[in-house]
Point group: C2
Chain length 461, copies 2
């Protein structure tokens, strides 16, 4: 069995913890592992590491590689240069496996859903495999627990052991309709998890979305596994539901027997977390007095709350969000209001993670920017130069190995060095301890894109 | 007429905007002036600058001097080395004036109440003066607008033109009693504003608190006008109400005809601020969606709020506080929970103001601390040395004039200098532009008290 992990999601629904450049799948929401890492590890119970491919937007390529490296897998990640919804991504993933083997069963999973009960999950996988082997494209349906209006539903018809035939896919219902769906017993939530043979998927793409299918033979996965822009440009932006599932007559459904949560809102995150005696989920530097049924997250500063109920309050380094628990999906309204403001608060975190470590912007002013940089043991930044800025480094902790215009310097904690405009330099930490450096950038243009790279952070020229 | 401004208040009720070391009277809550500055200016309409004395705790001495300097008054500030409630402070203030003139009328005012209508205020002052000249100690009563349970009340009896005789002072009532007080028409809120002749006050101190009165002749206001510890130590910690007002038979009341608000809670601050169409008071980098009847303050980072009503949310550089508007007095419960925690979050702000400018702690780690320092044009830091830390300064904006072990350096933006342990140094800005310096402290002990001063920031040795 092969698997495609869809990891192209955006960061609006759990803002400000998630950002465009650091969306939900990259976050560690219930323990130390990100949702992507958990999804990847879950699949490893059923297949080999080489049978999994992750598809994401180019913007997240580096972070996803980094997270897979963290759990010791240098796995294949295919990057999309532009977002085109799920159908093109899935088709390209299928084509990737088609080039590897003639035919096999492929499981397609979102990277940002929570499933903890692997024993029950495996039972559903086995049922789906039976039907996939018969040529069906199988969707995993979640038995609705309550009349949710935020999900699409799937209506089943007669049994197709060990699942059902599918009558139709239906859009997000209003609350009255949702209640009817739940009561009828024939409806399932559409969790966006699918399984089918490569041949079955390709046949249905051929039948129902030839504009996608006809591009596939042009794909030749090469350096960095980026899907060429010319190919993607010609594909429609369309969901797999719309492109195939709602049209095909080869669709079956098996019930997802495990737990499942899409963590699609702060409320759903609250639901899966362990509560304290006041039914609160508190994380970080939080202090409360007479607070109930609330989710309060602090990433950095103290958050003190008194006499409130049913609220969500999330503190990050550069944004604080508070909302009513039952209306937590409205964070997207705030998010949309913020898009296009001068700041990039919907896009970036203040602390940015890189393969070599991370940096945090401390403050900025007229012609300067200060950053706190951490270089992990054994890591280095690329050999680079800047056209518009000088830099001044002060070593705070650890020891820095610096290359500056061909000369080498070792700088101990407390020492400092000037990096002039246009000088070719690299900050490196070949030692065992973390290196912390305070960087003061000065210049007429202070942005990450003022960089000429002479090698990458792996030392490759 | 003379005036004593009582400015010794603590910072618990408007935390996290107020702190122990930067309490309410120092804050600018409704415009660009602090409550202390507004109180001072209000009094200048009725007396000369030399007739006003401010009494505060030694902790706030420097900040109060600074704020008075900001509005161009180098006025007398008497500092208490320990807090002893209002009676000892008032007695010492009275004694201060007694040493200046034989007898005069003294007005005593808290530094942190809001009074905007000066015309009506003056009417009440004139009424009080009539009675003070007859030997009465006059308290200013505020006609209750609603049955507040958080204030003490004063019950009046027969008229004593242009005020009333006082029957009794009563403690904070329960809500039922408060309602009876309001309905009776005989009760007033006790706003803590008093007036009387020096001789009248001294007589009543002599009669009712001789343990305070007998210390007064020992007072000799000298350098910095600090009240000697030996004298204060022997005085009881007692309020003026308890020490004199509730016992004396020379008490009169005049109604305070102006507006009045003690800004004693976030709710009362909300009440005096201008509301927008949704009845919100929003300040700083705040964005809202479907929010009503709320007070939201941002000092630094973005605060985004959705679907909440009747809340207070205050963001400062190092603490976020959220509470229900109607229970905003409970911020003191949070405050008390925080006292004694390892951090000084109830005591200090992250940005500390000094006569020469201000500094902000950016971050700290193993053996280092980084600060952003701003030195105002024409200002300088004292000539000083440190036993346990070296410093490294990077000039970010402006130009620094540095004295280091007798040598002088001029450092332009982008330049840096090392300040070794034990070296005698001073950071100065004799130029017209603000000087911004990034300071990296390194050492085994990093605290403000590791300092030997060779001159102060005014250049005085």
């Amino acid at each position: 069995m092969k698997a495609i992990i869809l990891a192209g999601g955006k960061g609006s629904r759990l803002w400000p913890l998630s950002r465009d450049m650091y969306p939900k799948q990259l976050l560690s929401l219930d323990d130390n592992q990100s949702l992507l890492q958990k999804t990847f590890r879950r699949l490893l119970k059923f297949m080999n590491v080489g049978d999994i491919v992750t598809i994401t937007n180019i913007r997240h390529y580096q972070d996803i590689k980094l997270q897979l490296n963290q759990i010791n897998f240098d796995n294949i990640v295919i990057s999309e240069l532009i977002g085109k919804n799920t159908a093109p991504a899935i088709a390209c993933g299928i084509q990737f496996f088609k080039q590897q083997c003639d035919d096999d069963i492929v499981l397609i999973m979102p990277s940002d859903h929570l499933i903890n009960n692997v024993v029950e999950f495996e039972k559903s996988l086995n049922s789906a495999m039976e039907l996939a082997n018969q040529g069906y494209i199988v969707t995993f349906g979640i038995k609705p627990q309550y009349p949710e209006t935020g999900y699409g539903y799937i209506k089943t018809k007669e049994a197709l052991y060990p699942g059902f035939k599918v009558e139709k896919f239906v859009e997000k219902p209003d609350s009255e309709t949702a209640l009817q769906y739940v009561q009828s017993g024939d409806y399932y939530w559409n969790g966006g998890i699918f399984m089918g043979k490569i041949s079955a998927f390709l046949e249905e793409f051929y039948k129902y979305t030839p504009e996608i299918f006809l591009q596939l033979p042009l794909l030749n996965f090469s350096e960095r596994n980026a899907i060429p822009y010319e190919i993607y440009e010609n594909m429609p932006s369309i969901s797999i539901d719309y492109a195939v599932m709602e049209k095909s007559d080869k669709i079956a459904l098996v019930e997802l027997l495990s737990d499942w949560n899409d963590l699609g809102s702060w409320k759903s995150l609250y639901q899966v977390r362990k509560k304290d005696n006041d039914n609160n989920v508190l994380k970080g530097n939080v202090i409360v007095n007479n607070v109930k049924n609330s989710l309060i997250f602090s990433q950095k500063e103290l958050v003190a709350v008194s006499d409130l109920e049913d609220i969500v309050l999330v503190e990050t380094e550069d944004a604080i969000m508070a909302c009513k628990m039952s209306e937590s999906q409205n964070v997207k309204v705030l998010y949309e209001k913020l898009i296009g403001r001068e700041s990039d608060i919907t896009k970036f975190h203040k602390t940015i993670y890189r393969p070599w470590g991370y940096y945090t912007c401390l403050n900025s002013g007229k012609g300067y920017l200060t950053k706190n940089i951490c270089v992990l043991p054994g890591q280095k930044l690329s050999l680079q130069s800047h056209k518009y800025r000088s830099e001044h480094w002060v070593v705070l902790e650890g020891k820095a190995f610096v290359i500056l215009d061909g000369r080498e310097f070792i700088i101990e904690a407390g020492g400092s060095i000037d990096i002039p405009i246009n000088s070719i330099h690299s900050l490196q930490n070949p030692y065992d301890e973390e290196l912390k450096v305070l960087e003061v950038q000065r210049g007429s243009y202070l942005s990450e894109d003022d960089i000429v790279r002479y090698s990458d952070c792996y030392g490759r020229v």
